[in-house]
Amino acid sequence: MLDKTKIREMADIIAGIKKEAENLKELGSACGIKCVEMNVVRMSAMIKMLELNITDAADVLEA
């Protein structure tokens, strides 16, 4: 099993990226820039895969 602290570190970075992506999407929408919004939709799907692979596991491994 991999080092739990490293897994948590990855999970924290993923959470940060997710937050930044959401901010970017909001800003893009507010400015009416469709390409920002739609590219973030795709980006968010990939971030979700990171959550499924890393974040969910980190939570259980620490429990």
Partner: protein, 441 residues
Amino acid sequence: MKRPDIYWNPILETMPLEKMRELQLVKFKRVLKWAYDRSKLYRRIYDAAGLTPEDVKTWDDVRKVPVIEKENYREAQFKEPWPYGDSLCVPVEEVTVYHQTSGTTGQPIVQPDTWQDWEWWAETWCQFLWAMGFRNTDRVFLPFGYNVFVAYWAGHYATEKLGSEVVSGALLNTEERILKMRELRATAFMATPTYVLGMADTCRKLGMDPRDLGIKKILCAGEPGASVPTTKKRMEDAWGCNVYDHIGATEMGAWGYECFYKPGGMHVNEGFFLAELLDLETGEPIEEPNKLGKIVLTAFDRLAQPCVRYDTKDVAMWSENECACGRTHRVFKGGIQGRIDHITKVKGVLFSPVTVEEAVRSMGQLGSEYELIVEKNGDVDKITLKYELAPGCEGKEREVEAELATLLRLKTNLNFIYESHPYGSLPRYQVKAKRFKDLRN
């Protein structure tokens, strides 16, 4: 632990079993709530059973969640929002891709996926492609007619995501596909077992030995053949490479796979799916090896049309062996053993058509194609096996049929009627083969 680079995600693939169970319970509760809150179909079923997501806290509670079937989807679909109806869990504007089942067992199920769902398809495929040894050095040929079936669409996107090079042979015919594979020096391809064998035949007709094409690995799907040892051997001998099986379905996702170490069955991708094995008569969970049960499957992370405790109709048994790959993902021994709707009584004897495939493909004098027909002769069941002699074996019907009779009597306890057909005359299939026909009803 093995070298970490054999895993796509070593965290989920080598997670200790008790931690995996914890994770699965968390994820099960999450998808159950999602389905209950968002899908009129699931809410109706759970309300009728007097169940809310909050009632599910333990594994015993999981067993109380109603099992759904294809028929539930059929009843809910082809209504507004068209065509997904009550099974849809997201605004229809968020659906980015449509697929449907082949309709082998009735009205096709339609399957919406969001962009996230589609990423999830690719992700789950990447996990097993990696386990089979696909890498960015591979050039993967897809001899597949891209259409409404999900089949190798997900394989295409996963291959890209993995970093391999993908070549689509969609509109080419079989000969053109083979020539393109040779021209580009493809290292791998994906097809149904029937088509893998058919391509090898076509190769020989073109005057080429399939082994000379340089294919290193083949991924199979759509039929159980790649888990039938004699069919796998035929394919591996024909192409001179490794053949791997995986299992999935439109409404569930791709949930089972054979790794590079070929554990004599298929791993379950347990980080993304829950595969419960239930006793065929009592419905009680089976945890011990070597006992047949039906698989009830949950896909944890699918949004648009979730799949929660879905009766796959597939029959399997757990393996007693751990795989040498070091993954903790459990293994279904020998892959899928059959389908409940194919396992039938013939002359009062339980019969699974896959046993005939095993026998036919174990005999070098026979071609790979066959057809199996059960019908009534008065009150008595009659079972006919249509076969083809391999090229060069013409005139050997008597000895072949005697050998077949001994083999099949041993495997099935049944007597068959045999019909020899010229090589190449029985139907060839590119997608799901329909070799078993029960004409009694």
